[in-house]
Symmetry: C2
Subunit: 472 residues, 2 copies
């Protein structure tokens, strides 16, 4: 077992530069799933991943279409497997690992804040800068490259059975894969899922994520006058959709960050005392975090909760953009007929998207300003989850990372949402190992997204060792 | 005198179709003054107007550059004059009329709500649809065509002295012409200004505008984190600029529309009892106005004031757009580093832009939410004005319109701002006649802007008769 890992790790080290060059080629494809004009690029990225899975020796490689009459813009899934794993000495079949990742990315705007163009990968100071570098093309590529290293050095064999599923809609809610898991779960039968779409708590600190917030992403559309009106002629009589949205938003959350939607906190489950104690022991300096990660003059959020509690275990509400009206330079004196607020809420166990959205919509409708018609739309949603830590998969992961980092693994939660983890748990009845190698300052969803290249290589090594341990 | 008017009016009627075709050519030039990429179009429109003034026999036609080192984007003024008017029988020199208009237009967005493209003039049901049709290219063209008719039928002579000044920055605050009036007022010496940039109170109801609101157009920029952040990872700790702006806006105006800025109403002058009585006598049906002009489910604004008072004689506050963050279709889970609110206030006598802006800025800064840095910027401003109605110019205007419409003129105020009228009063010490021929449903600053063509022709006739009366 040690030999198998050693050979694969050496192969990965020797081929590390090539792995990075391949990743760059994938990063050059602007596979922005939320923008319909990039649908062709999204497909190109899927084909790129599929071709590489085939090249390294995976079997049954195919694209699974997710577009339907109702969802004509659905992006394809990439599937591959290798299910020829030798049984263990005791005759038990080799375990099957379901490797999950996504090849789609967030939009890159605001473009002018990127130091190098988002789709022209650039190396600077040991980092690879590009949209998708770490979220998630780079981390997904670690899986592919770990498999390649094991295949190449194992005579075309893997130490475990592996299925790979890579989606192209993670950044837009992942409906396509959710439907597939629900309807064709048998095609993804496995013992454990491996997801690398999270981060390390600090540089050099091996980390497993054991909880994620859920979310509901919504739009509130406010309509006032039938058409845009001149604010000189109609100001004082015509309702203003932006003022109305501001009034609504100001009533959604108080000045301290407490959400004012009736019933919203009712189901919130407090983390266990053991978890809270472990979080307090993590190397976290709030002032350093404010200064270097956030960069604002002060942090915000509910009083009485630590930053980690606020971002991991408390629901939050944010506004992402307010399209409508005049947004150019200079002045246009218009009372726009309509305006939209993009509002999302992060949910924690045991809140459910359906109930939270119903509470939110009812409340927004109850505070609708005079003269305005509001429409509240759900764009997408995902469940909050917490995963169990007492199983052999988690033990294999912590053992593998100990070999690479020489340190004990910390268990953290993530503030973001990876809805598929809940789907795997619910539909496939399998646990997920969330072993991620991003860093807190990797600028996910922001300009200058990067992947620390040392972590890319340590990630590949950790995954190689994880597979070998599971097969051993 | 009657003969002179008769011949010119007949000429205008005979050439009416040509006049409209010429106007269409001007409307095809997208002279959007607020968008730097249209600077060339703005200049083209200036040259178009200058060429026509020259062709009809006006003298000293020239473009006056307004761009300076501080304002490199300044658009040119078009100047022309004809100062050879014969003295009256009593030896008094002919009066000089300063004709003012503007050749720049508002941006056309939202484009998809136009029934025909904004810069491809289209006639439908007696209306000419295009951006600028009535505001102000069409109304400015009435001046030019009235001058042409008088020149052509008067043997190359006009009944009065005329100066023409046409600006290209009315929609962006008119700084260029304001500077020129202040610094070179002697080049615009006149007895009265004629401005056709207002509307009739109702179809067939000759109207003079005798008061206008002033304005301050501002931006509030809210900055939170140093860069855009992922709302999953940082939601609950990072300040959200949109939420902050919503909180600020919600404190600027209460649910009834009362502005909450301390001291804002202190200088507001109530209209005279006579004016209020006259307004009550105007043919105004609030429900019809709500239904056909505004088209909202209810009107808004300060309780205790009529719609005409609220839009003509009360200050108001509107939000025009909130650029920043993610405004595309779908979802992007970003906490944007910054967001902007475009906020304007309309002012009434005796408020001043400087004092009102100072009150506003101080108040906004005093309510700045936690973790946010606010910057409040003044984009442009203009004084509120009321003009005197007891002078021979107003009498000539009402007399001329009585000949055309067969009705008494009503005196109204306008809710919009034409800052140049205050500049003429203050710097040139002359009154202004605001004789406009737009209609309330002409969609100024909105999609499907139009000019009712019958009013274009009646406007030319009214202006012809106005000039003849002043010269007689």
């Amino acid at each position: 077992m040690a030999d198998q890992a050693k050979a694969a790790v050496e192969f990965a080290q020797k081929n590390g530069e090539r792995f990075v060059e391949e990743l760059k080629a994938l990063l050059r494809i602007p596979s922005i799933s939320t923008l319909p004009e990039h649908a062709g690029d999204v497909r190109r990225a899927a084909e790129f991943v599929a071709a590489e899975l085939k090249r390294i020796g995976m079997e049954h490689v195919r694209l699974i279409e997710t577009a339907t009459a109702e969802r004509p813009g659905g992006h394809p899934l990439v599937y591959a497997d290798w299910l020829n794993g030798a049984p263990a000495a005791d005759g038990k079949p080799a375990p099957t690992v379901l490797c999950y990742g996504h090849y789609d990315v967030q939009p890159p705007d605001p473009l002018d804040e990127w130091k190098s163009p988002p789709f022209e990968p650039a190396e600077r100071e040991g980092n690879l800068y590009a949209r998708g570098a770490v979220d998630d093309k780079g981390q997904m590529w670690m899986h592919v490259k770990a498999l390649e290293a094991l295949m190449e050095t194992g005579g075309g064999k893997l130490p475990v059975n592996v299925r790979v599923i890579v989606e192209g809609e993670e950044e837009v809610g992942g409906e396509g894969i959710a439907d597939f898991v629900r309807e064709h779960g048998d095609q993804l039968r496995a013992d454990v899922a491996l997801v690398s779409d999270t981060e390390m708590f600090a540089a050099d600190l091996p980390t497993l994520c054991v909880g994620l917030r859920g979310m509901i992403y919504t739009e509130i559309e406010a309509r006032g006058a039938r058409t845009d009106l001149h604010s000189g002629m109609y100001g004082g009589a015509a309702p203003n959709p932006f003022v109305a949205l501001a009034q609504v938003i100001a009533k959604l959350k108080d000045a301290d960050g407490k959400i004012l939607i009736p019933g919203f906190y009712d189901k919130v489950q407090k983390p266990s005392d053991a978890e809270l104690t472990a979080w307090k022991a993590l190397p976290f300096d709030e002032e350093h975090y404010r200064e270097t990660e956030v960069g604002s003059i002060a942090l915000t959020g509910e009083p009485g909760y630590s930053v980690l509690e606020r971002t991991w275990a408390r629901p939050t509400l944010d506004v992402h953009g307010m399209p409508g009206g005049f947004t150019g330079a200079g002045a246009k004196t218009v009372i726009p007929a309509r305006a939209v607020a993009k509002v999302s809420m992060r949910l924690v166990p045991d809140m459910t998207p359906a109930e939270s959205f119903a509470q939110y919509r009812a409340y927004v409708e109850s505070i609708c300003p005079k003269g305005i018609v509001l429409e509240v739309r759900l764009i997408h949603s995902g469940d909050a989850i917490v995963v169990s830590t007492d199983n052999r998969y988690i033990q294999a992961a912590t053992g593998a990372m100990h070999e690479v980092f020489g340190k004990e693994t910390v268990f953290v939660r993530g503030g973001g949402s990876i809805p598929i983890v809940g789907d795997f748990e619910r539909e496939l009845k399998i646990p997920t190992v969330m072993m991620g190698f991003g860093l807190p300052d990797d600028n996910l969803h922001a300009p200058n997204e990067k992947f620390h290249l040392a972590n890319f290589h340590r990630g590949i090594e950790s995954i190689v060792r994880f597979f070998v341990r599971l097969g051993g």
